[in-house]
């Protein structure tokens, strides 16, 4: 199993996200993360799909996406040709016995403390997914109250853009 990141430029209209996710559901694609946002133009939204599977599955996913009239262009992104980032919010139990250990780990990862109360601390961390996984794994030694992560956003390195991709 490999991990693939596919960026999809779609028409910025209501229902388009539903069309895309409905396609993943009915063809049983194994999506591990999905982010959606507006882009530099209000005509388009950008969907970033993180997907685990084989090369064939990825090709099938791209081919199926191309059949949706609302999909404008698709670009496969990988570590070599792109920069990726993800944001994590994690709420830890604030226990005097572990407080210092948690803070030391957070400092080492340069996680930012966003909220501090008697019973809880919320940290924010940005970085690639591996880094976020590592931090979460470290925190598992203590009591995690809640986790929320955004999924990957990814842009190609250099000046080329997804809009320049022509249909296969």
């Amino acid at each position: 199993m490999n991990r693939y990141i596919v960026a999809v430029l779609v028409n910025n209209q209501f229902g388009v996200l539903n069309r895309v996710t409905s396609l993943f559901r009915r063809r049983q694609f194994n999506i591990s993360a999905l982010t959606v946002s507006e882009t530099e133009s209000n005509e388009f939204s950008r969907i970033t799909v993180t997907f685990e599977g084989e090369e064939d599955n990825k090709q099938q996913l791209i081919n199926q996406l191309y059949k949706l009239p609302d999909v404008c262009s698709i670009k496969e992104l990988n570590n070599d040709n792109s920069v990726s980032s993800e944001l994590l919010l994690i709420k830890m139990k604030n226990d005097p016995a572990t407080r210092e250990d948690i803070r030391a780990a957070a400092d080492a990862f340069k996680a930012k403390s966003m909220d501090y109360s008697r019973d809880s601390i919320v940290f924010q961390l940005t970085g690639d997914s591996r880094r976020i996984d590592d931090f979460i794994n470290l925190m598992r030694d203590y009591t995690i109250l809640e986790i929320c992560r955004t999924g990957i956003v990814s842009l190609e390195k250099g000046s080329s853009t997804i809009r320049k991709v022509t249909n296969l």
Partner: protein, 557 residues
């Protein structure tokens, strides 16, 4: 010109060359029906007994002509009633335009009377669908729908129009009918690679599907077959694309396909797959399917390439334009050894042929063959009769076989045959079973209302024959709920609908019945009685491979 939304719908349909629609009125589509009344000299509306029948009729119209069929229904149940038919069209890549009414936009989302999220429901079974928010976008959405329906791989498009959008006024300007998106051949390098692959093989085989019909690639395909000396077989959807008696044609292949074509494909060293998708009904167990065969696959839909069977050369392109480029690159050859093998497969098929006399399925269809002409559209429902028809019917012209291949929709044929007759002005034939006919016999009302010339041949065995066959073979003859025992009298049913009908229990009676039916002005029902233990052979059991074709089944005594 300032027009209401409903007028714009009808005017745009007319503008796009549509002069016939099928449908059923209801509360939220009344404005459109008022516009249909207004423009009735330019566009005809066929009222069916049920929305599903209307949508199947629009589908039949499209299959018979290649032009988009149009169905109109109301919101709520009217919209959900067309769902099966839309899915049928989707699975068989039929260009269909479905227009549904909906409650006014200010009521959407409030679960008001007869409100349903039909764009949500049909999301996975349409090529695309639209919820029309404003009257200003209406005409262009309809034009785009026509374009989408016929471009690339055809398919159904649904447009949901809320009542207030139908009522609202807007400027309308007539435009020219859309032209389908331009089609392209594969890149030269891909063409060259594919041609080299074909040149390097010894036992080529051409396997085609419905894509050859919609891409009108029959002639060039036959030229290729001639030049490389290859036999041809097809999927159910490809039937009627080339004449059945063409010397290179081995017939439909797959689960109930011809022995010769299935075996030839399994023994080929290069399969040239054109506009087809290696459906499980064709391949059986994919892992055992044509294991050592090279595959050259051309399809306008790139997602079909290597979806089910890996293609050595997958060309996402127009078949006709690509074959035109491949043809000069392939070597003219004669393959006597391969032809000798093919002759052997044909002889084996012939040895296993059903040669019994009397009311056997193949004798019935063979007799029917003497009554139909090259222009007769033949529709089927789904089940044993469908396979007997596919195996034995003789076609001479394209688009004459109308059958639900992908979805396998019982009840499809009645609407489809009606639609085909409206489209071609030819007497159509419906081959159906007592089970399937039970699902759509309400449309006899439509056939008699419009006096549609059609011959309805019910192959009546009193059971759900295909279910029974599987229960015989795979479920220890536990005939769970497959024995109909309904006591329906189809002749009386025909008469009650003001159609005519007769019963045939032997071939002489059938001949008399056909004589009457094919000269009758209007729908004619033939209740053709066959034995409940007739089976469809050959058969490739589900999950088995082409090496394991069942050619006989011990009769139940």
């Amino acid at each position: 010109m300032l027009l209401s939304g409903s007028d714009i719908i009808v005017k745009t349909l007319i503008e796009q060359g549509c002069d016939l629609v099928f449908g059923y009125p209801g509360g939220q589509i009344l404005h459109v029906y008022d516009s249909l009344y207004k423009y009735q000299d330019k566009i005809e509306h066929i009222l069916t007994a049920h929305e599903q029948g209307a949508a199947h009729a629009a589908d039949g119209y499209a299959r018979a002509t290649g032009k988009p069929g149009v169905v109109i229904s109301t919101s709520g149940p009217g919209a959900t009633n067309i769902v099966t038919a839309v899915a049928t069209a989707h699975l068989d890549s039929v260009p269909l335009i479905a227009i549904t009414g909906n409650v006014p936009t200010y009521q959407i989302g409030s679960d008001s009377f007869q409100e349903i999220d039909i764009t949500g429901i049909t999301l996975p079974i349409t090529k695309h669908n639209y919820f029309v928010n404003s009257v200003e976008s209406l005409a262009d959405i309809l034009r785009e729908a026509f374009k989408l329906a016929v471009s690339g791989r055809p398919g159904p498009v649904l447009i949901d129009v809320p009542k207030d959008v139908q009522e609202a006024m807007c400027e309308y300007e007539e435009k020219a009918p859309i032209t389908p998106e331009e089609r392209f051949p594969a890149k030269d390098i891909r063409i060259k690679e594919a041609a080299e692959c074909i040149n390097s093989c010894k036992r080529p085989y051409i396997y085609f599907g419905g894509g050859v019909l919609s891409g009108e690639a029959q002639d060039i395909m036959l030229e290729l077959a001639e030049k490389i000396d290859a036999p041809i077989g097809c999927s159910l959807m490809g039937l009627s694309a080339i004449p059945t008696d063409h010397p290179r044609f081995l017939g439909m292949q797959g689960m109930h396909g011809h022995y010769a074509s299935s075996t030839a494909m399994n023994n080929a060293d290069c399969v040239i797959a054109l506009g087809t998708r290696f459906n499980d009904r064709v391949t059986g167990d994919v892992s055992k399917f044509a294991t050592y065969t090279k595959v050259v696959h051309i399809d306008i839909d790139g997602s079909e390439l290597s979806k089910n069977v890996g293609a050595n050369h997958g060309l996402r392109a127009d078949i006709k334009l690509s074959l035109e480029k491949i043809l000069p690159l392939v070597k003219q050859v004669n393959r006597p050894a391969w032809q000798k093998e093919i002759e052997k497969f044909k002889a084996e098929e012939k040895a296993n042929a059903d040669t019994r006399e009397g009311m056997t399925p193949s004798n019935i269809i063979s007799l029917l063959n003497t009554y139909i002409n090259e222009n007769t559209p033949v529709a089927t429902d789904v089940g044993q009769h469908q396979m007997w028809a596919a195996q034995n019917l003789i076609f001479r012209k394209s688009r004459k076989f109308l059958s639900s291949g992908g979805l396998g929709t019982m009840g499809f044929g009645m609407g489809a045959a009606i639609g085909a007759t409206f489209a071609t002005k030819e007497r159509s034939v419906l081959i159906t079973g007592d089970g399937s006919f039970g699902m759509s016999l309400n449309e006899l009302a439509t056939a008699t209302k419009y006096n549609v010339p059609m011959v309805i041949l019910i192959m009546n065995n009193g059971v759900l024959g295909m279910i029974r066959q599987w229960q015989t073979l795979f479920f220890d003859k536990h005939y769970s709920n497959s024995i109909l025992d309904r006591k329906s009298d189809f002749v009386k049913i025909a008469e009650a609908f003001s159609a005519e009908g007769t019963r045939a229990t032997n071939l002489d009676e059938l001949k008399t019945a056909f004589d009457k039916a094919f000269s009758h002005d209007g729908p004619y029902v033939i209740d053709c009685i066959i034995d409940k233990d007739e089976v469809v052979l050959p058969m490739m059991a589900p999950g088995s491979s082409m090496n394991e074709i069942i050619t006989e089944v011990e009769a139940e005594k």
